[in-house]
Symmetry: C2
Subunit: 341 residues, 2 copies
DNA sequence: ATGAAAGCGCTAACAT
DNA sequence: ATGTTAGCGCTTTCAT
């Protein structure tokens, strides 16, 4: 195998036309087993590898799907990516990953790969861009799928869990342990997830007839430092609370750090519950209670749907996929507090 | 902006030749500021986006670099990827990531993107494939860079830390705490890293005149379960040891789990030291002592070197980059044991 | 500084 | 079932 062997080289040596070689490679059904064998033999002898750019140009597709995530080192996203990757691979698609590092501009720029026809479709995981921008791309016939947010456009498949519902579950769990002053450390206020998680929090309080104190809400931007600082602000307010619902595990990490600095004991003095079932959460001391989402499955199901829709094998009917989440009760909230007063 | 605008559409509307539009986009120097402005205006009006496949085909390059890692959800690899991604991005290169999930075949298959000219070069992080195979690709003029292993070929840049050296440091640290029976849980025996880490272990023992017991060596395949099982095998042998050097943090996770099941207290009854400074390690209880490598920097430096070499801006002289690692002493080994005669 | 023309390597439409 | 022909959209000589 050497130098740039082209399809015509193979064709000549095999005594057939280039088109036949192409057929052998792409659509063997339309070719005699005998010719196929002959051609394959030459292909192997010559070590022929079709040029991807020429193929892409001619066929007007790249068999490549892009994936945009806010942070590749967060296990939530890497699990989703694994799900996408494996299914895509089984369907002969390549996957290009973009780690935006929480930068919305980078996210937007990545969508350019769609417009330059470098990729055939894109999956956005927990996107930062507004619905408006995303809808605009979909309107221009680009294929987009979303993990973790619902966007209403008939060409956009989405997969999500019910944030309101699991947040209510978390609060109910805490109430069941005797907590009545429950703080919430939420993510970036513009994120849809944040408002849904807050909504669930409020709904649950109402359901349990617990008065709502706005001072018990803080924002931690979905990262460790943010969680740490939000918790410190909570402490600084000198108001009483016995539990914290952290809208993701990363922020809960910050809560743990602050607690350790202030000598606050989890779960005896403070119950903590996170969201995501981050790889780290079960190794914490105490292990962190959290909400698990089927991350791998979410990636897998969505990419399958997207590919189907791109190839129009699929009606756009059930394009909103919902999956169940599960509250994992671990050491950080496994403690029933006494009634006080 | 709509439908497929081509370079000729822009050219016509701007009253110039397609070649001029191409020059504006790629090599503005050779075009009058006035023409350039005129063309740019039309480009924006029409929302023209050059077709990547056509560009790749004609220019014989894709401005894309592939990265292969064994496991994207391991923070060691995701940090390396971040380093690669950011530098590549700043040099106008795209990055395609492949998560092999420890599958050597998938690794090999990914290299096919090189032969089909889908990517211009590839970076292999802790590759599983043999030197022989990798060298063969390099011999065929493909651009390959390696993170975490040294391969001797003048066209292959490599970046690494000194595994022997830091392993000796780890053992010396443990010896300094009074340990003399030190077990090692190593990675897959065919990995170069494993043999280097073992070499360092043996060298350090010799240096400290500590007798070597082959029963104190076990293999844990670089993953949590492997570490768990290796440690159980160690226990089953009923030989005495007071410290374990785990060749990575993942396996140390397994050691922690086994210890907790067997009521073994770290660091009082057993000192543990890992390698990688995995994100999880500092959150363990007790925090895990480990060897930190400058992962982000390693990715960044290597991709820079690779790009330089691809564009022949760089002599192949100093193609072996060495970076320093650092032993982080944390709770899991921060305990001086009594001399017992 | 700009234009005209050729061609990168493949696949698809049409012809046989 | 296979061959012939044309062309995907761009960049790059070579002219001017």
């Amino acid at each position: 195998m050497d130098m740039k062997i082209k399809i015509v080289d193979v064709a000549t040596k095999a005594g057939v036309a280039p088109a036949t070689v192409s057929r052998v490679l792409n659509d063997s059904s339309k070719v005699t087993p005998k010719t196929k064998a002959k051609v394959m033999k030459i292909i192997n002898e010559l070590g022929y590898q079709p040029n991807a750019a020429a193929k892409n140009l001619r066929s007007q597709k790249t068999m490549t799907i892009g994936v945009v995530v806010p942070d590749i080192s967060n296990s939530y996203f890497s699990e989703v990516i694994k799900g996408i990757g494996n299914i895509a691979y089984s369907k002969k698609y390549k996957v290009v990953i973009c780690d935006t590092e929480n930068n919305a501009e980078k996210e937007l720029e990545f969508l350019n790969l769609l417009t330059t026809r470098t990729i055939d479709g894109v999956i956005m995981v927990a996107p930062m861009l507004s619905n408006e921008i995303i809808l605009n791309f979909a309107d221009h016939e680009y294929s987009i799928g979303i993990v973790g947010r619902q966007i209403d456009h008939e060409r956009i498949p989405c997969i999500l869990t019910d944030n309101v519902k699991f947040s209510m579950q978390v609060i109910s769990h805490l109430v069941g342990l005797g907590h009545r002053e429950i703080a919430i450390i939420n993510g970036s206020s513009h994120a849809v997830d944040s408002s849904n998680r807050l909504e669930g929090y409020l709904k649950a309080l109402k359901e349990h007839q617990i008065p709502f104190h706005p001072e018990l809400i803080e924002n931690g931007d979905f990262n460790e430092t943010g969680g740490y600082e939000a918790f410190k602000r909570l402490l600084a307010k000198k108001i009483r609370f016995s539990a914290v619902y952290s809208a993701n595990d990363e922020m809960a990490l910050g809560v743990y750090r602050a607690c350790s600095e202030h000598g606050i004991q989890i779960p005896m003095q403070l119950a903590v519950v996170g969201v995501d079932n981050n790889r780290i959460s079960k190794y914490l001391n105490p292990p962190l209670s959290t909400v698990n989402q089927p991350k791998y499955t979410m990636g897998a199901l969505l990419v399958e749907k997207l590919i189907d829709m791109m190839n129009e094998n699929e009606d756009a009917e059930n394009r909103i996929l919902k999956v169940e989440s599960e509250l994992l009760i671990r050491g950080s909230s496994d403690y029933k507090i006494k009634g006080r007063e």
